[in-house]
C-alpha cells in the first residue's frame, strides 16, 4: 500500500493543477471537470484499493474514465507543443493509470488468482487499452522536460508490462506441452486445430492422430492461443517492443522446428565427414528418411509455420515476412546439408536411383518454394535449393554416364557358353529399363548438365551442324544412344570370340532379341530411342537370322540341291548317291549334335528359328528323297543310307537350341 499512499500525496499536491487548462480549449476544460469530479483524495485511494483487490467491473469502469481523461490530456499535449513557454502539467489520471497498470500486472503475475493473460478477455482488452495510453504518454511526455518524472514513471510501467507480456508470449508459444497434457487429462480437445486448414473435420483428433497426419504437436495451436499471441504481439509492437517480441517468437519457433525436424530425421544428424564414412546400406535408409522429412517440411511444416506467423503478426506483415523467412532458411539449409553430404560420397551405379529420388524431392521443394504466392521465402533459399539440386543432378548424370565405362571395361576373353545372353546385356538392359522409369527426371538432369557444359564452353566448340542435330533429340536420349551403341559394339566384339560363325550369329541374335524384348517392355526406352532405331534393330535381327541360315544350312542345302554331280553320263551314279546320303547324314547329325546344345532361351525366337530351318530343309530333303530314293535298293541298303524320314528331320530340328547335350544320345538308344 505504500505505493498508493505516496501516490495520493502526490495527487493532492497537484490537485489544483490537474489537466491544467493553459489554453482554454473545450477539451481541456472538460478534462478538468472530469478530473476534478474524480479526484478527491480518498475516493481515489479507494479506487486503487479496489483495483488491486478486485480487478473486476468496478475498476474497469474507473479505468475507462481514466483512459478518457488521459486521452484528453494527450490531445492537450499535442496542441501545446508550439508554445514551449507554457508546459502542461500531468493530471492525476496519468499517475492513476500507471498505478492501475502496475496493479493489473501484479494481478496477472499472482499465481494464486490464476488470472493470466487470456483468461479474461475483457480484462485483457482493458489492459491492452491502458497500455496503449501508457506507451503513447511515454512517447509524448519526452517532449516536455517539466514532465520528466511522469515520463519516468510511464516508461518504467511500460517496461514492466512489456516484460510481463514477453513472458506470457513465450509461455503461450510453448504452451503445446501443457495443452497436450491438459487435453489428455480432460480427454477433450475440441478447440485444437491446425492453422492451415481451419475447417478440418477431425477437430476431435487426439494426439496420436495428429502425429499420423505428420503434424507435430509443436505446430498445433488453438485459435484461442493464436488470438492471444496476436493480441500480445500487436500490443508489444505498438509499444515499440517489436524487437523483443520478434526475438521471443523466433527463438521459440526455431526450437519447435528443430524438435520437429529431429523427430522427422530420427534424432540423428550427420556431419559431412560422417556421411563419407558410412556404408551404402544405412545411407539408403537415411535417404528415405530424408525424403520423407523434406516432403513433410515443404507440404506441412513450412506452410503451417507461415500461417502461424501471419496470424500472430497480422499487424506487421514485414515482421511476419522476415521471421518466417529466417525460420524457413534455417530449416531448408539444414535439410540441404544432408544432400550436400551425399553429393560428396563416392559414386557407384547402385546409387543412381536414390540420387534421382533425391533430385525429384529437391525439384518438388524448389517448385513449392517458387510457387509460394506470398513470396515469403527469402531468395537465397530458392537459390540454395537450386544449387544443391543441380549438384545431385550432376552426380546422377555422372553415375549414369559411368555405365559407359562399365561397358567399355567389360572385355573378358571367354565367350558365354552356348551363345546365350551375356550377363552384361542383362545388366545394362535391366539398369536402363529401371533408369528409364525415371525418364522425365533423367531428361531434366541431362538437360541441366548439358546446359552447364554449353555455358562453360561459351558455345564456341559446337558448330552449327552439331547444334541442329542436338535440337532434334534430347540430351538424355543421346546419352542413351551412346550407351546402346557401346553395348552393340561390345557385343559385336564378344561375338568374334566364337570360333563357329553360326554360334556368333546365334549369340548376336540372342542378345539382340533380349534387347528388343526389353525395349518392347519399356515404352520409355522405345520412345527415347525412336521408331526408326527400333525398326533397325529388328531388321538387324533378321539379318543375323539369314546369316545363320546361310552359314549353317547353306552347305546342307547345297548337298541336297546339286544334282549335277550325281549323274555320270546321264545316269544316276549309285556310289555317288550313296556318298551324298552319307555326307548329308553326317552333316545333319553333326549340326544336330552341336546346335541342340546351343541355347535360344527366347521361346519365340527359338520357334522362329526352327520353323525357318524346317521351311527350307523339309522341302529340300523331301524332294531329294523323292527323286533319288528309287535308285537305292529297298531293304537293307535303303535303311543304311536313308537314315531319316522327313518327319524325323522335323523332329530333330525341333530339338535344336535346347541347350540339351544329351538329346542325341537319348534318341540313339
Amino acid at each position: 500500500m505504500e505505493k498508493s499512499i505516496s501516490f495520493s500525496k502526490d495527487g493532492n499536491r497537484k490537485n489544483d493543477t490537474v489537466g491544467t487548462p493553459k489554453h482554454g480549449s473545450n477539451d481541456t476544460a472538460d478534462a478538468k471537470t472530469l478530473s476534478e469530479s474524480q479526484i478527491p483524495g480518498e475516493t481515489e485511494e479507494n479506487d486503487i484499493n479496489i483495483a488491486e483487490d478486485h480487478p473486476s467491473s468496478e475498476s474497469s469502469t474507473s479505468l475507462a474514465q481514466v483512459v478518457d481523461e488521459v486521452d484528453r490530456f494527450l490531445q492537450a499535449l499535442s496542441s501545446t507543443v508550439e508554445d514551449e513557454s507554457k508546459y502542461p502539467e500531468a493530471p492525476e489520471s496519468v499517475e492513476i493509470l500507471s498505478t492501475m497498470v502496475d496493479s493489473m500486472i501484479t494481478d496477472y503475475n499472482d499465481g494464486k488468482s490464476l488470472i493470466r493473460f487470456g483468461k479474461d478477455p475483457e480484462n485483457d482488452s482493458s489492459f491492452v487499452e491502458a497500455l496503449n495510453r501508457v506507451s503513447e504518454l511515454s512517447n509524448k511526455l519526452g517532449e516536455f522536460p517539466s514532465l520528466a518524472s511522469s515520463l519516468n514513471r510511464m516508461s518504467a510501467v511500460l517496461q514492466r508490462a512489456m516484460s510481463f507480456l514477453d513472458e506470457e508470449f513465450r509461455t503461450l508459444l510453448e504452451d503445446w506441452k501443457s495443452e497436450k497434457s491438459k487435453n489428455n487429462e480432460e480427454n477433450c480437445n475440441s478447440d485444437r486445430c491446425v492453422l492451415v486448414d481451419q475447417n478440418q473435420q477431425d477437430h476431435q483428433s487426439d494426439q496420436m492422430e495428429d502425429q499420423d497426419q505428420g503434424i507435430p504437436p509443436t505446430f498445433v495451436f488453438s485459435p484461442e492461443t493464436v488470438s492471444k499471441l496476436n493480441a500480445i504481439a500487436t500490443a508489444m509492437i505498438s509499444a515499440g517492443y517489436e524487437a523483443e517480441c520478434a526475438m521471443a517468437y523466433s527463438v521459440s519457433r526455431r526450437s519447435a522446428f528443430k524438435s520437429a525436424l529431429d523427430d522427422l530425421i530420427g534424432h540423428e544428424c550427420f556431419s559431412i565427414d560422417d556421411v563419407q564414412r558410412m556404408h551404402w546400406e544405412p545411407l539408403e535408409g537415411e535417404i528415405a528418411t530424408w525424403i520423407a522429412a523434406v516432403k513433410s517440411c515443404s507440404a506441412v511444416l513450412l506452410p503451417n509455420e507461415r500461417s502461424l506467423c501471419n496470424a500472430v503478426f497480422s499487424s506487421r506483415p514485414s515482421s511476419s515476412h522476415s521471421l518466417f523467412g529466417d525460420t524457413a532458411r534455417a530449416a531448408v539449409i539444414k535439410l540441404l546439408n544432408f544432400a550436400e553430404a551425399m553429393v560428396l560420397t563416392k559414386r557407384s551405379a547402385e546409387k543412381l536411383f536414390k540420387f534421382l529420388d533425391m533430385y525429384e524431392t529437391l525439384r518438388d521443394l524448389e517448385s513449392s518454394i517458387g510457387n509460394d504466392a506470398g513470396g515469403s521465402y527469402p531468395s537465397e533459399v530458392a537459390a540454395e535449393t537450386a544449387t544443391v539440386k543441380a549438384w545431385i543432378g550432376a552426380a546422377a548424370a555422372s553415375i549414369f554416364c559411368d555405365l559407359e565405362n562399365s561397358i567399355k571395361s567389360d572385355n573378358g576373353k571367354t565367350p558365354v557358353a552356348s551363345g546365350a545372353v551375356h550377363p552384361l546385356t542383362r545388366y545394362v538392359m535391366n539398369y536402363l529399363k529401371y533408369a528409364c522409369e525415371y525418364k522425365d527426371t533423367l531428361e531434366q538432369v541431362f538437360r541441366q548438365t548439358d546446359q552447364e557444359v554449353k555455358d562453360d564452353d561459351d558455345g564456341d566448340y559446337h558448330d552449327h551442324r552439331d547444334r541442329d542435330r542436338e535440337s532434334e533429340t534430347s540430351p538424355f536420349s543421346r546419352q542413351l544412344s551412346t550407351v546402346m551403341d557401346l553395348l552393340d559394339a561390345n557385343l559385336e566384339m564378344k561375338s568374334k570370340l566364337y570360333r563357329d560363325p553360326s554360334l556368333s550369329f546365334i549369340f548376336l541374335m540372342n542378345n539382340g532379341r533380349y534387347i528388343v524384348q526389353k525395349i518392347k517392355g519399356s515404352s520409355e526406352i522405345h520412345q527415347l530411342m525412336g521408331d526408326t532405331w527400333c525398326r533397325k534393330r529388328s531388321s538387324d535381327l533378321r539379318q543375323y537370322h539369314k546369316n545363320y541360315q546361310r552359314e549353317t544350312w547353306g552347305k546342307v542345302l547345297q548337298c541336297l540341291g546339286q544334282h549335277d554331280g550325281l549323274q555320270v553320263n546321264g545316269k544316276v551314279s549309285k556310289p555317288v548317291l550313296k556318298e551324298r546320303f552319307k555326307s548329308f547324314n553326317a552333316m545333319f547329325d553333326e549340326i544336330h549334335k552341336t546346335q541342340s546344345t546351343w541355347v535360344v532361351s527366347d521361346e519365340q525366337l527359338q520357334s522362329e528359328l526352327r520353323v525357318s530351318i524346317s521351311a527350307v530343309m523339309i522341302p529340300a530333303y523331301r524332294s531329294f528323297l523323292g527323286r533319288f530314293k528309287q535308285y537305292l535298293d529297298s531293304g537293307r541298303q535303303s535303311e543304311k543310307y536313308i537314315k531319316y524320314q522327313p518327319e524325323d528331320i522335323e523332329t530333330l530340328i525341333d530339338e535344336l537350341f535346347d541347350g540339351n547335350s544329351t538329346s542325341m544320345a537319348r534318341r540313339r538308344t
Partner: protein, 398 residues
C-alpha cells in the same frame, strides 16, 4: 567479387601460358615458375591481411584483425589461393602426374581435409546466427538508451537485453555450446524457475535452437585438430615439385578454418589448438605464422578471462555491454549530465558496432557459402582427374 576477378585473370594467364609451352620441352621449368608464382601470391595476400592499413586510416579500425571486415578479406584471400591452386594442379596437366607418389597420398589427404573444412563452414554459418542474436540484443539496448531523456523504463529494458547478451557470450565460452547446465542463461529475461514450471526444458530448447546445424558430439576443436594432424611439410626432392603447393594449400585451408573457428562461436571450441607447426624457413609461410601468433594470443586471452569469442565486434559488444550494465546498475532518475555524456558515447560506439555487424554479417555468411561451393566444385574436379587416371590404368582401350 574481387576474388572472382582475380581468379578469372589468373586462370586465363595460366591456361594461355600452358598452351604456349605445352609443345616445347620447357614444361618442367614452366611448372617451377608457376609454383614459385603461387608461393609469392600466397605470401603477398597474407601479408595484406597482416597489415590491414592499406585502405583504412587509424580512425577507422573497421578492418582490424579478426573484425568482420577482416574475416571477409580472409575468405577472399582463401578463394583466390584456392582458384590459383586448382589451376596449378589441373590445367594442362597429364592426369597420371597427379597419381604418382607422393601426390597419390597427399592429394587424397588434402581432399579429406577439404571435406572436414566443409563441416567447419557449416558450423561457422550457424555460429554467425548466434552472433546475430547478440547483435539484436545489443540493438535493443541501443534503441532503449538512445531515448531522451533516459528513464527507469529505458534503463531496465537495456539492462535486460545487455544481461542476456553477456549471458549468451559467457555461455558459449565457459562450457562450450551444447552443454546443458548453462542453457538457461541464453533465454532472454526469464522469470525465476518457480513462476514457470518446466522452464528448464524450454530454455534448453531455445538455446539449442540457435545451433541446430551440427551433429551431436561434433566438435570444432577436434575437427581442426584432425585437419592439422597429418600436415607435414614436404622434404628433400618432394619440396620442389607439386607436393609443395599441395602442402601450401593444405596449410591455407587449415589456417583459414582455424581462424574462423577462433573468431566465430561454434559448436565445441574448448581445447582449440593454438599452434600448428609451419616451418619458419618457408618464405610464403611468414605472414601466416605471424597471423597465427596474433590470433593465438587473442584466443589465449579469451580462454583466460572467460569472455566472448575473439571476433573483434563481439569483444567490443561484450566490453560495452559490461560497462553499460554498470551504468544501469547504478542508475537513478534523473541521471547526472556528465555520466549521461559518457554513456551516450558508449551507446554511440555500440550502435556503430551493431551497424558494422548489420552490414557485414550477412555478406560474411554468404561468403562462407561461396567458399563451401567453390571447395565442393574443386574437389569434384580433382576427383574427376584422379578418376581418369584410375580408368586409364585399369581399362585397356578397346
Amino acid at each position: 567479387m574481387r576474388a572472382t576477378e582475380n581468379q578469372g585473370s589468373f586462370l586465363n594467364r595460366i591456361s594461355i601460358r600452358r598452351n604456349q609451352v605445352v609443345s616445347m620441352d620447357g614444361n618442367h621449368e614452366q611448372e617451377l615458375e608457376d609454383i614459385e608464382l603461387f608461393q609469392k601470391h600466397v605470401a603477398d595476400r597474407f601479408s595484406n591481411l597482416l597489415s590491414p592499413s592499406s585502405s583504412s586510416s587509424a580512425e577507422s579500425p573497421s578492418d582490424s584483425i579478426l573484425s568482420i571486415a577482416w574475416l571477409r578479406k580472409l575468405l577472399d584471400t582463401f578463394l583466390c589461393c584456392e582458384a590459383e591452386f586448382k589451376a596449378l594442379l589441373i590445367i594442362g596437366r597429364e592426369p597420371s602426374q597427379v597419381s604418382k607418389p607422393p601426390l597419390d597420398r597427399l592429394i587424397p589427404e588434402l581432399l579429406d581435409r577439404v571435406v572436414k573444412a566443409l563441416d567447419v563452414c557449416n558450423a561457422v554459418t550457424h555460429g554467425v546466427e548466434a552472433v546475430r542474436h547478440c547483435q539484436k540484443l545489443a540493438e535493443i539496448a541501443v534503441s532503449a538508451l538512445e531515448q531522451k531523456p533516459i528513464g527507469d523504463g529505458q534503463v531496465r529494458r537495456a539492462k535486460k537485453a545487455l544481461n542476456s547478451l553477456i549471458a549468451a557470450v559467457a555461455i558459449e565460452d565457459r562450457d562450450g555450446v551444447g552443454s546443458k547446465s548453462t542453457e538457461r542463461a541464453w533465454s532472454f529475461g526469464r522469470r525465476g524457475g518457480s513462476a514457470c514450471a518446466g522452464s528448464k526444458d524450454r530454455t534448453a530448447g531455445q538455446f539449442r535452437s540457435l545451433w541446430w546445424g551440427m551433429a551431436k558430439g561434433w566438435s570444432a576443436a577436434k575437427q581442426i585438430q584432425a585437419m592439422s594432424s597429418n600436415l607435414v611439410a614436404p622434404r628433400g626432392a618432394e619440396s620442389t615439385g607439386l607436393a609443395h603447393p599441395v602442402y601450401i594449400m593444405s596449410t591455407v585451408v587449415v589456417f583459414v578454418m582455424w581462424a574462423l573457428v577462433a573468431a566465430i562461436p561454434c559448436q565445441e571450441r574448448t581445447g582449440l589448438v593454438t599452434h600448428f607447426p609451419v616451418p619458419r624457413q618457408l618464405g610464403w609461410a611468414q605472414p601466416i605464422i605471424s597471423l597465427q601468433e596474433k590470433i593465438a594470443e587473442e584466443w589465449k586471452k579469451k580462454e583466460k578471462k572467460c569472455s566472448a569469442g575473439v571476433l573483434e565486434e563481439m569483444q567490443r559488444l561484450e566490453r560495452l555491454a559490461q560497462s553499460l550494465i554498470e551504468f544501469t546498475d547504478s542508475f537513478q532518475c534523473p541521471a547526472e549530465a556528465e555520466r549521461l555524456g559518457e554513456v551516450a558515447a558508449q551507446v554511440a560506439e555500440l550502435a556503430e558496432t551493431c551497424r558494422r555487424m548489420e552490414e557485414g554479417l550477412v555478406p560474411l555468411q554468404q561468403q562462407i557459402r561461396e567458399v563451401f561451393h567453390k571447395v565442393v566444385r574443386t574437389r569434384t574436379e580433382v576427383l574427376n582427374v584422379l578418376d581418369q587416371v584410375g580408368k586409364a590404368s585399369t581399362t585397356p582401350t578397346i
